[in-house]
Amino acid sequence: MRKLFRLLFVALCAALPALPVGVFAQMRIDVSGVGATRYPIAVANFVTDNRVPRQIADVIRNDLVQSGAFRLVEQTGTLSESANIDFPALRSRGADAVLGGSVSRLADGRLDIRFQLSDPVRESAMGRSTLVVSEGDLRLAGHQIADYIYEKITGQKGIFATRIAFITKQNNVFRLTIADWDGENPSVALRSSEPIISPSWSPDGRRLAYVSFESQKPVVYVHSLSDAQRIAVANFRGSNSAPAWSPDGRSLAVALTRDGLSQIYLISASGEGAPVRLTTSSGIDTEPVFSPDGRFIYFTSDRGGAPQIYRMPATGGDVSRITFGSPYNVSPRVSPDGRTLAFISRRDIGLVLVVRDLASGSERVLSDGGREESPSFAPNSRWIMYATRSAGRDSLMAVSIDGRTKQRLSSDAADIREPTWGPFSR
């Protein structure tokens, strides 16, 4: 009998860590719309021996198509990085670029990935490179090659190798989940029977700040992803919420109610020291976010009677109102390039995502769902991810900054909400 128990114990413990992955089996992406110009590219299957588990070219193709900036030109068969390319045939199919490569296994088990991007019109190489990765990182390598192509061709950094974090809710279980930018490859950083909201990546991409209600009130944590260690950095009397990282990663702006109504304070990311109060208003101040240069904090306040977005120096004082024209403007986010303010605004159809050019003040509505919330910029400032609700389910949308391409990340089994886009990987 005892032996049976021991066997069961081993079997159960082996099975348990694998369980959460099944949750995401039904997660899916739907892409709609395309960019103004789509660059035609052929991505050949890479040359491999048969011991490589998946075709890396599929990852690259998916990334390029989902970006809305590329269109795939048919390419059958494999093509290595050093093969002679039939340029006239590619030209006749309209390809402006072609990618070939190979994957081979090194003696230590790692994979050696070589690739070359070529120009069929000039009949010359546009660039070539090599990656050496462990087998588990094959997908990441595909994303990195897609980033390489994106940057070569558009001149802008790609976001295919970045990660996102979001909250799933399924059967009243909340999971703080980390995934590739397209929702694939998910892993759970925190599971709780109480809500988790407002996750935010540290600038170094190693930690997340978030609000957890596990102790029956909102408390702000900073959570290190690799070792699951965390600190309650704001656990004061009342409610602690809305964490936003300073660009240097040393401090967080948060909303605290320790002195009454919600006000904005600065705390250290290590949880040490006393909070420094930054706002002193007779209304609600919340949802702080730093400008990328660290000089300003944008935030939501109803000091004028209704919630609007304001700006102040990062040390406090001297507040100026930024938004007008709607009785409800909330959830400000500044693009990493500092040019654009994204926020949620109540308009005729409901709550929508609006972007405002900070230099000219011109505004544009980027969504039409009417139940939008929690925008988050991609690190290249070219995409905004946000949460929306339709047909009784929360899902995520990513929209290109020109509004032309959208993709939805959804699951039939779970609500997905509170997206936050991680920084470029280093």
Binding site: F9, C13, I197, S215, P218, T257, T286
Partner: protein
């Protein structure tokens, strides 16, 4: 014998599962805080950990729930939610007797503490709703201070829109979610 063996296996499995989950300390294990008066069943989980003849049968001895002021529907202490109008932070007169009853109880029992949990409907920003829920919880706190309750017996916090009582979308559902819950510690 067969029956008790089955029970023992089930219990052992539960213990094994618990053992499996211990290496992940970050998983939330906090049970919701309830009023002490809510726990009607005393000694509810007398786990019989033995095998065979050493098994122990569980006996439940419950308080008479109707004698507990928190559960007696005729006692205002059994009402522990204050509801608010849309976009309002004013405690309505209808709830005056409820707050008076709780305030009397807290004044008479100075060691008891209560958390005032503010809630909103799900319209708008989650974070702004945390701040709005806090405003409701603070309104209840101030009303109870005026009724003589010591500040250190109360903490006002907010769940914003995160803990709806009714997940519906019509106005009556939303109205159930605009509330402050009194949670005794």
């Amino acid at each position: 014998m067969k029956r008790s063996l089955t029970a023992a296996v089930a219990l052992s499995l539960a213990a094994l599962l618990a053992a499996c989950s211990t290496p992940t300390p970050l998983e939330d294990k906090g049970a919701p805080i309830e009023s002490r008066g809510d726990s009607a069943g005393a000694g509810s989980s007398a786990a019989s950990a033995g095998i065979g003849d050493r098994s122990v049968r569980q006996l439940d001895v419950a308080n008479d729930p109707s004698k507990d002021p928190f559960n007696d529907p005729n006692n205002p202490l059994s009402r522990r939610s204050i509801f608010f109008d849309f976009d309002s932070f004013v405690v309505k007169d209808d709830f005056r007797p409820v707050l008076e009853a709780h305030s009397r109880f807290l004044v008479a029992n100075p060691t008891r503490k209560v958390v005032l949990q503010g809630n909103t409907d799900d319209r708008g920003s989650r974070e702004y709703n945390i701040a709005l829920g806090q405003k409701r919880a603070d309104a209840v706190r101030r009303a109870m201070v005026a009724l003589g309750v010591a500040e250190n017996q109360m903490e006002a916090v907010s769940f914003g829109e995160e803990r709806p009582r009714n997940s519906g979308t019509d106005e009556s559902a939303l109205a159930e979610n605009r509330r402050v819950d009194l949670a005794y510690q």
